[in-house]
């Protein structure tokens, strides 16, 4: 995925998202910038609490405000700054230009309406369709995402479907208005491994068919390796590394990325007796260190790291970047 001579579809600059809590403000996302190009799949990876989900939600302005607040930064999508849109304009955007699928398809679907009703709602909200036309389109979409007997299934309620099936309904709903960008937040985390394989294959296939860009938010590095072009690694609200997928997995630059990759047990490799670990744990977002947020757990940390926070420098040729004074090289 070359970044030259293309304009990004989505361009996030210096985004800061803060939540006020009883103990003081917490910056869940702290000064992040990234681009997503047309037809590209970008993975956002990191552990719980690193800000990856908040990033996804903020793009659609779905964080509750208050207590949440976009402190600064811009989100340019297709020539418009989403942070400046009114709620009404944002509603037009959601589900038609940008769609989202969530981790838990049971809670994301309304249990008291049939899936058909919910899909028809979305379609009629954004397109000028009669109920009958919308229903036909919904049946088509269910068929596209691989739901057997869609004509019968469309009148069923979410609880009558399995987890994998519900996630397919979510995907059908998200894609029904032909969005340019799909934000998938842990789309397969709640699913079993065989179902996960089915659903991921479907998502990747549909992304090609619909010419969409996708942001895949996940903690599963295996899923990222198989379906993304580029990935962003987040830690404590910061982007600490961004790289093309091959570079990230074969030549990780940040000690944290390296640590994450090393600590996964590999199924297709010889067993080792002791897994390499990242010692310690993620610092509390309320009491962040001044310097690099990973310094306390980092084997390469020096005094410089503890005093000044490194920033990501993007290489203009490769598009890769790392926020580290002592990258792995």
């Amino acid at each position: 995925m070359s970044s030259e001579n293309k304009t990004p579809l989505l361009s996030v600059r210096n985004l800061v998202v803060e939540f006020s809590t009883r103990y003081g403000p917490v910056r869940a996302v702290d000064d992040i910038s990234f681009d997503v190009y047309p037809n590209e799949t970008v993975g956002i990876v990191g552990e719980s609490g690193c800000g990856k989900t908040v990033t996804g939600l903020t793009l659609l302005q779905l964080i509750p405000m208050p207590p949440g607040r976009i402190v600064q930064g811009s989100i340019n999508f297709d020539g418009r700054d989403l942070t400046k849109l009114s709620e009404k304009e944002m509603q037009e955007m959601r589900g038609s230009d940008i769609s989202m699928i969530f981790q838990e398809p049971m809670t994301a679907l309304n249990p008291v309406f049939s899936v058909g009703n919910q899909m028809i709602d979305v379609l009629r909200r954004h397109k000028n369709l009669t109920r009958r036309q919308a229903r036909e389109l919904a049946i088509n979409m269910l068929d596209t995402v691989g739901i057997p007997a869609p004509r019968k299934r469309i009148d069923e309620y979410p609880h009558q479907m399995s987890g994998g099936m519900r996630q397919r309904v979510m995907i059908a709903m998200a894609l029904s208005c032909g969005p340019k960008l799909l934000i998938a937040d842990e789309p397969t985390t709640a699913l079993d491994v065989t179902t996960q394989a089915q659903v991921m294959e479907q998502i990747v296939k549909l992304q090609d068919e619909f010419h969409m860009s996708m942001i895949l938010v996940t903690h599963d590095l295996g899923v990222v390796a198989e379906s993304c072009d580029r990935a962003i690694v987040m830690y404590c609200g910061n982007i600490i590394e961004t790289a093309a997928i091959d570079d990230l997995f074969h030549k990780p630059q940040h000690p944290y990325t390296r640590g994450l990759l090393d600590s996964i047990p590999r199924i297709r490799e010889e067993r080792i007796t002791e897994l390499p670990i990242i010692r310690g744990m993620v610092p509390d977002l309320l009491h962040l260190p001044d310097g690099c947020r990973f310094a306390d757990r980092c084997p390469r940390a020096t005094d410089e790291c503890r005093q000044d926070k490194p920033v990501v420098n993007i290489d203009p040729v490769t598009g890769n970047g790392v926020a580290c004074y002592h990258p792995m090289g």
Binding site: G222, L248, T273, I278, M281, V282
Partner: protein, 330 residues
């Protein structure tokens, strides 16, 4: 560890756990959910048996039945020579010390109103071990063993992160020096970097205390990392069992093959030829006839829907036990 060796610590034979499915006006039992259906496994001293399967296959029910949190419908649970399956609660108590459990969600399995000191002291009180001073010493030692500061005694579960809570769960499980620990998805709620810390702790403790583990999980990579042998479960039955490396490198059952091929590998580029199963797991209330897997199996023949395949020996390269429940060699 061959099946005929008598020194197995745990030997489960023909275990069945059925749940009544109630319905109708009087909530009478209308059907049976065969959560665990005729399962036989054995675990030797210091050995880890990995138990893998998708949600609803009965792997957690099997674990809970072995510690007798659930009473089995039929079958035998031989632990160290005595049969736990039909014992009364009173008769069971001395055995409970020997078989402990670690749960998936350490937040749910710790009492939020008790301090860590109370939580860890309780097993000693229940089994009447030591006086107050002795129990305090033991609690302090437990915390040290699992790598928590001694100040944790006064604190409450909510003050700890997920990884630390799982350390508390592990401390509680090893408090009474058990011989066998049933680990029900012990690391699936944890982040990758924490997961490896907990796995290493569990492996260290196993060495030090000569523990046996029944390691229940859906993550095959994690299971392979910790297990000596592996059993694959589908709809309440074991479909394949053998040495860990053997099962992963030469899976014989089509379901095992599909499971292994479905794992996303953190290596980009190599888009492997992936075998993707169609459809969903059928309901255990009304399982398919014959081989329960035939509805999704890419190699299914007419025979598969008529006759249930029994576990049969296959030749393992290393001479270990390797059994598979499939009519064919695929």
């Amino acid at each position: 560890m061959s099946a005929d060796q008598p020194e197995a610590l745990l030997r489960v034979e023909g275990l069945k756990t059925y749940f009544p499915v109630r319905g109708g006006v009087f909530l009478t039992a209308q059907a049976q959910c065969k959560a665990v259906d005729d399962v036989s496994i054995h675990i030797g001293p210091g050995e880890t048996l990995g138990l893998v399967g998708e949600s609803g296959c009965g792997k957690s029910t099997l674990g809970k039945t072995i510690v007798r949190l659930i009473k089995p419908t039929d079958g035998r649970i031989l632990f160290d020579g005595s049969d736990l399956s039909s014992m009364s609660e009173r008769a069971l108590k001395p055995h409970r010390r020997q078989v402990q459990m670690i749960f998936q969600d350490p937040a749910d399995s710790l009492n939020s109103r008790h301090s860590i000191g109370n939580i860890l002291e309780e097993p000693f009180i229940i089994h009447g071990i030591g006086d107050a001073a002795e129990r305090d010493r033991r609690v302090a030692r437990l915390l040290d063993v699992v790598g928590l500061p001694s100040s944790a005694v006064e604190r409450f579960p909510f003050e700890f992160s997920g990884g630390q809570r799982q350390r508390i769960g592990i401390a509680r499980a090893v408090a009474l020096n058990p011989k066998l620990i049933i680990c029900d998805e012990p690391v699936s709620a944890l982040d990758v970097s924490i997961q490896s810390q907990i796995l290493n702790l569990m492996l260290d403790l196993q060495q030090e205390m000569n523990l046996s583990y029944l390691f229940i999980a859906h993550d095959l990579a994690v299971v392979k990392h910790v297990s000596d042998r592996i059993a694959i479960m589908y709809l309440g039955r074991i479909v394949e069992m053998g040495g860990a490396d053997e099962v992963y490198e030469r899976p014989k059952h089509p379901y095992t093959q599909a499971l292994i091929s479905a794992i996303p590998e953190p290596v980009p580029g190599g888009k492997r030829e992936r075998q993707i199963l169609a459809g969903d797991v059928p309901s255990p209330i009304d399982p398919p006839s014959g081989c329960a897997f035939h509805t999704r199996c890419p190699h299914a023949q007419p025979k598969c829907s008529e006759e249930r395949p029994e576990l049969r020996d296959v030749v393992a390269r290393t001479g270990e036990e390797h059994v598979v429940a499939c009519h064919f060699d695929v």
